[in-house]
Amino acid sequence: MSTPHAASPEVFNELDPHGMGAATKHSHHIVSGMTLISILMILLGFTAVTVGAAQMEKWIEASLHYELPRWVNVIVAMSIATVKATLVLMFFMLLRFSNPINTVVFLFCLLAFALFLFFTMLDLGTRGMINPIKAHQVEAGGIGGIRAGWRADAPIINQAPVVFWRDRKIAAVGIERYNELKNILSHPHEGHGTTPVSSGNMSINRPGITAGLFNAVAPAPHDDHAPHGAAPHGAAADPAHAPAAAPATPAKH
């Protein structure tokens, strides 16, 4: 009989009476101290690289007056982070030495994450596409119901909190003092180097609050039967677009 049940008495293991544990028997891997130290050093090195790369990108933008595409920053940082994460997983979390099923579990988890991210990006990336047939149903959004603060009885301000708190501070301390404060506070020591400014050779986007952005009122619902030549949507509410729209209207007729 060569079945596992016929284990001979001298090798009989009380904890493994059927001799089936032999299949799963393995020695626990002990990572060498040198490996651990080396991995730590590599991880610290990559940390320096990722910080250096970010500083380098800023330096390039500031001194060469060249604006790098936004994705460069993300791709470089995420690639380095992925390498670091792989090292941690393989050597610190012992995936390289442990039961392969653990790696399978983790990879399926990453697959779920990838699906999550992929379909979200698919949606986000096509938000700007409006089917021409449906275009007339699209209406301006709004930011109604915003309160100043977290309390339920805080006043409804119906404007961006950023604007509300800015105006309140200006009202409290006066515009001179506000600018004085802003001067010190908005050039934090932390700041990622100097902010490049637009020059004759290069125009750089300055993020900020577009004047009138939050004062816009929703346009009247579209009326298919309105007489031709009526002012286009939003022309009255959005003076910035009015000059562009005005010549277009007579041209149509």
Binding site: V105, C109, W165, R166, N205
Partner: protein
């Protein structure tokens, strides 16, 4: 995680004077054929749990992606309030702690009890340092405007100090605070209307991460206690300290991605 089983729990009569270390007295659960099988099953179970943890953070990362995609300027601006040097220091601290954790598992595998305990406490201390940096130099000033007196950023705002507390240990800088998430936001000098969104993402991501650091530190403290009380871990049995290590490395793993995404964007 270790099954709480009166038969295999070494906290018994031996605690009072037994010389046999806990890891030698450990008997695997009766439903396992071998100790190795038990170890494998525990570790597999823990990896499944880690997968759910990754998916928890996946939600945050996807939220981050959506918001950064829609409001890139708010994120660039928001990130410029963070000091990349604190972020880098915290990354180094966490990497060191990951190393000491891995090294302590190695020490227990080799039955170097003292070394293992020292490395476990080092891991705990690194975790504590991480939290202290986060709360003292990052969260507190940004939320409230209160700086600790020796904050290296404070001299820059010397002209704006308008109050102090606890005998000058904390100093208040006018206008600095209020960088709070969402509806809590009340900072008056923002450059972008969507900055409250950035702060929501920032506090959610780092807050949940900090919570995991605290949980990991609790597990480490528990391992330490078991190691001190009855030498619970040794060459043939170290499941709990191994799984605690896996949890701790996951915390490090999450931070490896959070750090560039929050601190290094421009």
């Amino acid at each position: 995680m270790t099954t709480l089983d009166t038969r295999s729990n070494p906290l018994g009569a031996d605690v009072q004077g037994g010389a046999t270390p806990g890891w030698k007295r450990y008997i695997p659960g009766h439903h396992w054929r071998t100790a190795d099988e038990e170890f494998d099953a525990c570790t597999l179970g823990f990896w499944l749990f880690l997968a759910t943890e990754v998916l928890l953070f996946a939600g945050l990362f996807v939220g981050y992606t959506i918001m950064r995609f829609k409001f890139p300027d708010a994120f660039t601006n928001g990130s410029s309030y963070l000091d990349w040097r604190w972020g880098t220091l915290n990354t180094v601290v966490l990497l060191l702690s990951s190393y000491t954790m891995a090294a302590s598992i190695r020490a227990f595998q080799l039955d170097r009890q003292k070394q293992g305990k020292i490395l476990l406490s080092a891991t705990f201390i690194f975790g504590l340092v991480f939290l202290l940096i986060k709360f003292t130099f990052e969260y507190t000033p940004k939320l409230s405007g209160w700086f600790i007196a020796f904050d290296p950023a404070l001299p820059h705002y010397a002209s704006l100090i308008d109050g102090q507390a606890l005998g000058g240990l904390f100093k208040h800088v006018e206008g600095y605070g209020g960088k709070a998430p969402g509806q809590f936001f009340s900072y008056a000098f923002s450059e972008d209307p969507w900055e409250p969104l950035w702060w929501s993402i920032y506090y959610c991501a780092t807050g949940i991460h900090a919570l995991h650091v605290i949980i990991g530190m609790t597990l480490i403290a528990w391992c330490f206690r078991r190691a001190v009380l009855y030498k619970a871990y040794g060459p043939s049995h170290y499941t709990m300290v191994e799984n605690t290590g896996l949890y701790w490395h996951l915390v490090d793993l999450i931070w490896i991605f959070l750090f560039p995404l929050l601190y290094l964007i421009h």
